[in-house]
Symmetry: C2
């Protein structure tokens, strides 16, 4: 059945969908009403045609400047640098951060041939040096991986001479995790980044 | 971003796709070429419009009679009864079975309110009693669950008076599995269905 195989083939090219899930999806599509299938394909086509990237932060946007960049209620002093737009959604969900973002569109990864030139690093620096910008702190929110560390090291060098505070997300034990199943690297980091419980003791 | 959320919502209604995978898929769709997205939605629309069910076996088909039912090379003596068309694809992949199929469109499940009337059981019996049919063996290939057993028991009753051999797929240890992780029911079944290694000993 050519049309069955074609739909399975196309669906299984999507991330996280194997042949088996693709088959299940096609069977599901056969079992639902025509207009529900139409609503699915319409939603895909509309998203593809309307969504783009913000010209300032490279986050997801339906307009030239995204909602966060154009929101005067956001704190202009803090800039959170992320690898991809997904991370923005994640951080926005926490409700913890009220600054703005910059999407690097990846991380430095010599093994994959990704250097600083492939990322939006020059755009980040332009942004930091734009006269009307008041960014005082840049927070790196990358995955705690080699690529993340390499990128942070590179950016620390590049931003060394700017009067801007640099920080990165804290490493440590995931909330609700079990020490028994924590890997050695995470445990090392948790020791290094241990939280002082009586900071006043240091001064005494 | 309405169009982003709408696409995520529609995608996450598909089986096996949660909000998180749906978001990943939408980001992926943004990163690929327009015509690749079009090929995906076209494949879905084509499958939905061209695929239907075989009027004889209720398997998946683009034509009134499916390729298996209309294939004179298939053994007309054996009929494999399955719950859903997915199972046909699975069995065809083994290359082990050359007979034909009948799809029940479910299994008897009193808890879910599914009785014999909701399934294609009368169509199965019509098929078995059609004058030009030569079916000699009916093989039940259901999931080894309660519903599977209830359905087999019901069909054994209904088909009791027909001169047709009935069989079901063998229960036992999955190939490549580890006894340590085998559940008690499977181990019980594996004992009951143990394979005689020297059948001649019985007669001596």
């Amino acid at each position: 059945m050519k049309s069955f195989e074609a739909a399975v083939d196309r669906l299984s090219r999507l991330p996280g969908i194997g042949k088996k899930s693709a088959r299940r999806i096609v069977f599901h599509l056969l079992s639902i009403a025509d207009d529900q299938v139409e609503e699915l394909t319409d939603a895909i086509i509309t998203a593809k045609s309307q969504l783009g990237y913000c010209k300032q932060c490279y986050g997801l946007s339906e307009t030239e400047l995204c909602k966060i960049c154009s929101n005067s209620q956001r704190n202009p002093d803090q800039l959170c640098v992320v690898a991809s737009p997904e991370t923005i959604l994640k951080i926005e969900n926490t409700g913890k951060f009220n600054g703005r973002y910059h999407v690097l569109r990846g991380l430095i990864s010599p093994l994959d041939g990704i250097g600083p030139q492939q990322l939006t690093i020059s755009q980040l620096i332009n942004r930091l040096t734009t006269p009307n910008e008041t960014i005082q702190e840049v927070i790196f929110a990358f995955n705690p991986t080699n690529e993340g560390e390499v990128t942070i090291n590179y950016l620390r060098q590049r931003l060394r001479d700017y009067p801007i505070k640099l920080s990165q997300l804290g490493y440590g034990l995931p909330v609700g995790s079990d020490l028994e199943y924590t890997d050695r690297m995470t445990l090392n980091k948790a020791f290094e980044n241990r939280i002082k419980l009586n900071p006043e003791a240091e001064n005494s």
